[in-house]
């Protein structure tokens, strides 16, 4: 067979604008899955439209022969011409049985695959996002927390799951506030990348006290006197209200909501903080829903994280 002109060139498709529109449609679908359902429909429409145009273009460019090639009058070419004529005739443009069988086989295969794969993929992904329980944790009686003193408290988020759920919170009793005792509960999870923040200052390990929760798990309470909180991993530093003073963290330390039930302090749930003005019981906290470390809660960068997994749980 004679080499045709262009055989040595890479067989790349000619440049086209349609793939861009197709990509925009796919992006719209992905964003819509997270943000809103109507956007998904719009994305599907865009993707189908531009995908069809793209497919039409690439099929057309593949079927047209190179223009400089003159049709040689050989028997092989003649039969090819005959084929083309038959197709152009229109009489044979029916829906033959083998095509029908081919399409039904492919379609049935797709249906079966979908029926099997969808539950499996759902099982692989969904459990991480559904049924996340947030139990309150008993942190012991109030007399464990003298006024204006810090305690580093190690507790179990879920006593049944044991040591792997051990977390640390810094607790300070701010004295009597407007509606009862005021507490500051600061999470020790660095908001840079999640390492454990330490209380920088004297630490009285010999006065450590281990008490039992109502749930039966141990609570370790160590008196600490932090000048600030600092992270060992990448040098993030925070003041005693959790505001960032140095290093890579993007916001203030997370805090816990608390409630006092039957004279016992209960840790309710975590929330994120942009910054804190004031101190102790007079602190004004710019609070946001819980977010992961390294995620901005406000400002322009906050737009990077429009929706959080827990927002989808009702």
């Amino acid at each position: 067979m004679e080499p045709r002109p262009g055989d040595n060139e890479p067989h790349t498709p000619s440049p086209s604008i349609w793939p861009v529109g197709f990509a925009v449609g796919i992006a719209c679908i992905l964003a819509g899955l997270v943000v809103s359902r109507p956007a998904v429909i719009v994305g599907v429409l865009i993707a189908v439209l531009f995908g069809a145009l793209w497919a039409r273009d690439s099929m057309r460019s593949a079927s047209t022969p190179p223009p400089e090639e003159a049709p040689p009058a050989t028997p092989a070419a003649a039969t090819a011409d005959a084929d083309a004529l038959e197709l152009e005739d229109g009489e044979l443009a029916t829906f033959p049985r083998n095509q029908f069988l081919e399409l039904t086989t492919l379609g049935l295969g797709a249906v079966i695959t979908g029926v099997v794969a969808l539950p499996v993929v759902g099982f692989a992904v969904l459990p991480a996002f559904t049924g996340q329980e947030h139990k309150t944790v008993d942190l012991g009686t109030l007399d464990n927390y003298p006024q204006d003193e810090w305690r580093e408290v190690k507790f179990r988020l879920d006593p049944k799951l044991g040591y792997v759920t051990r977390r640390t919170v810094f607790v300070r009793n701010n004295g009597e506030g407007d509606g009862g005792p005021s507490f500051t509960l600061i999470s020790n999870r660095c908001v840079h990348l999640g390492c454990p923040v330490q209380a920088s200052g004297p630490r009285e390990d010999n006065q450590r006290k281990i008490v039992r929760q109502v749930q039966g798990a141990p609570l370790e309470m160590t008196p600490v006197l932090p000048a600030n909180f600092s992270c060992p991993c990448h040098g993030g530093a925070y003041d005693t209200e959790g505001n960032r003073v140095a290093g890579p963290p993007v916001r203030a330390l997370d805090r816990y909501k608390y409630s006092i039930i039957d004279g016992r302090l209960h840790l309710v749930e975590v929330y994120s903080v942009a910054e804190v003005e004031g101190e102790g019981k007079n602190a004004k906290i710019k609070a946001y829903g819980p977010q992961g470390p390294g995620e901005h809660v406000d400002g322009l960068e906050g737009w990077f994280y429009p929706i959080q997994p827990q927002d989808l749980e009702q």
């Binding site: 890479p10 991480a128 988020l157 792997v164 454990p196 992961g292 994280y305």
Partner: protein
């Protein structure tokens, strides 16, 4: 009884020669009979021969062996990993203890665990060296672009193997490295928090995290890597190995004369004055 066979008209075939055949001939025959049986029914022997003795450019060099070295490193990881799985128990309560048991108690456990641990670094280093060879030789160009993409996916999966495997010893280093790694993923725009929550198996690190990482490290990622390696090799065989950029043949120049055939062997001496013009 009537003899139906026609009488013989030609002299009988002489019996096979009685000469004592060499031992090597017998051995070759013993090996070849099952191989021929296999070849006749599957074509696998011919396929293997084609794969092993296919033509490659004359001026390939040692850098072209980096891909095979990477494959070997992966096979070592697969082999040692399977054996480690005999004794490893995923789970927040048992993982650390089972690793200690493998290292301290099981006969030669320290060796296999060490091979797996250090072999992981070897695998990643060889991946990068192989990639550097392909890049510097320009071997990613047409028609081999797709193989570059497959190789890149293999690199990503290899790094994911490192990430998921690092948690499994379940010590302080493993735990905090994984916390930081997951949170790094969480900082990705829009989908980051969801990716992090998927990797964690919930909104807090728990016993589920280690079993998820174990399943990915043991089943999902090695399977994907093995499949992509097959595709990678298929493309290598189909497209052929590329010459180095300084190749005379590829540049269309007359090539240096072959060195005189010396002693027959696997390796012939390198041509002298090869770069002389």
């Amino acid at each position: 009884m009537i003899e139906t066979r026609p009488p013989r008209t030609h002299p009988p075939v002489p019996p096979p020669s009685r000469r004592k055949r060499k031992l090597t001939d017998k051995i070759i025959q013993v090996v070849m009979i099952p191989l021929d049986w296999l070849e006749e029914r599957s074509g696998l022997v011919g396929g293997t021969k084609y794969f092993l003795f296919r033509k490659v450019p004359r001026d390939t060099n040692w850098f072209h062996t980096l891909g095979s070295a990477t494959l070997t490193a992966f096979l070592v990881q697969a082999g040692t990993g399977v054996i480690l799985a005999f004794y490893y128990r995923p789970g927040p309560g048992e993982a650390y203890e089972s690793i200690r048991h493998i290292t301290d108690d099981v006969t030669l456990g320290w060796l296999v665990r060490g091979m797996h641990k250090w072999g992981a670094s070897v695998f990643i280093i060889l991946l990068f060296l192989h990639m550097a060879r392909v890049f510097i030789f320009g071997a990613y160009k047409y028609p081999r672009e797709l193989n570059w993409v497959v190789g890149f996916l293999l690199l990503v999966l290899g790094m994911l193997q490192g990430f998921t495997g690092y948690l499994l010893p379940w010590d302080q280093t493993a735990y905090w490295a994984t916390v930081v790694g997951i949170n790094l993923n969480g900082t990705g725009p829009v989908m980051g928090p969801f990716l992090a929550q998927f990797l964690r198996g919930g909104d807090e690190i728990s016993g589920t995290t280690i079993t998820i990482f174990y399943a990915m490290h043991m089943l999902l990622l090695p399977g994907a890597i093995a499949g992509l390696i097959l595709l990678h090799l298929y493309l290598v065989v189909r497209l052929g190995v590329s010459s180095p950029p300084w190749s005379d043949e590829a540049a269309g120049r007359s090539r240096a004369p072959l060195p005189p055939r010396g002693e027959p062997g696997l390796v012939r001496p390198r041509a002298r004055g090869r770069f002389a013009r």
